[in-house]
Subunit: 304 residues, 2 copies
Amino acid sequence: MSLLVVGSVALDSVKTPFGEATDVLGGSATFFSVAASYFTSVNVVATVGEDFPPEHLDFLRSRGVDVAGVETGHGKTFRWRGEYSYQLNEAKTLETQLNVFERFAPRVPEAYRSPSLVFLANIDPTLQRDVLSQVRRPKIVACDTMNFWIAGKKPELERTLKEVDILIINDGEARQLAGEANLVKASRAIMGLGPQTVIIKRGEYGALLFSGSGVFAAPAFPLEHVFDPTGAGDSFAGGFLGHLAKHPSLDRANLCKAVIFGSVLASFCVEAFSLDRFKTLTRLDIQHRYRDFKHLTFFEDVDG
Amino acid sequence: MSLLVVGSVALDSVKTPFGEATDVLGGSATFFSVAASYFTSVNVVATVGEDFPPEHLDFLRSRGVDVAGVETGHGKTFRWRGEYSYQLNEAKTLETQLNVFERFAPRVPEAYRSPSLVFLANIDPTLQRDVLSQVRRPKIVACDTMNFWIAGKKPELERTLKEVDILIINDGEARQLAGEANLVKASRAIMGLGPQTVIIKRGEYGALLFSGSGVFAAPAFPLEHVFDPTGAGDSFAGGFLGHLAKHPSLDRANLCKAVIFGSVLASFCVEAFSLDRFKTLTRLDIQHRYRDFKHLTFFEDVDG
């Protein structure tokens, strides 16, 4: 099934205790689409500046990602500069240069207008809704958001959420959106805003899936070498929705598998700077780590 | 198999966003032994003051816990006063009155001196080793410790760890003990100090088991009502070692089951103040929540 993502393509400068990288490929739509490309073909709507290195688009194309919807605007590419401390759990944003992203008005090409799945990455909720108005009703609409929109554009965000099936956000955002510290209660409150399914990302602690069939908990993969957490959340969403594009069912068993595939892609993402790990990652690597997740979490029945 | 625990019996005063309780039953040996009592008989070595309400010992006896090793010292019972903020993840200690616990010199009664399993709760590592010198070599020695001993008595603690099979500590303590932020590397460093098995407790995020057969990750149970996290870690240890006392094998499958039983007991502990939840908890409740943990974590194989 066809998968459409609308989000950012960026040049990131990242510093971690293990090194630093300057003006490397980043952005929510980028991590998402490359992660999802292991499962399905992906169409991207985004904007870059005139300074954007063409080899980055070549890399996306090499992964089977359709970049016809990536427009080149007048000016420079969106830039983000951040730093991680030793525990790697949260980025400290040092600088954000919106550049062309400030005037981003997503235009969905005609060829993309009948998507089966749409992922609205973290952009202004008004733009998220505008994207939905340009496409014929997809089977599944998923979205992300952030503290900035929850605090500053809550009514707009709530209008968008009415049209969303699956919300994928982190624990702090879930608490902020619901005004509730307890995640079980927070997810229920969020489900009352529209999404039937809520995925709460908890970084190094994994993810929780809340749906009509109760809760599913997936750990993050305990890695010995974590180089750069940037993009892990979008890679999670890419693995999750990539699997759903390939196996389009929202029953519990399939959603749980999708969460594990999301966790697998996130676990690879953080093993190198930028999208570097995806330059060598194979479908077989993904299957092996899925099996490693099974080993990581399996325990016998109570009477076993 | 016989299970011996040495630790504290205390009177706690706890304030959470959901209420407060003054001078209620607490202490590491208390939570541990009551949690373990659902699996096996437990012998306790501890000290209380002359002011200790006898009905608390009656409650322990009603759970089949042998309290002949609980000595009454001259003076008042160990008191701890703490407070939890809205997210309930970490206690802020407001006051500690060691009282009789300051002069605690564990004396293992003759009847307890051939234990199959020993749990050395969080006390001075010198006392932990002294306890081991009083008993015939048990099959399994497990222990807990805390930042205070890691910072102030590291050589003593390292001598104790040489005699320990299973270390059960929280993530911050593991990082501090190993001098290493990455938990995979930290656990390996700790295994180099003696314990073949390391369990890292992560509060609301669950627990990780590191052993010769790799890592096992268990989530904490997502609860809608958490009233008081005090004692959750010791209840975890009680459920974990209680299961091992009943099924004394250190193979991976059994250790993983034990971690889930520990997580089950911890999840019940936090549902009420003090040990109140254990006053009505049944073995059947435990089995049901074990099954709920299976539902919470199960996902199909990659090709399923």
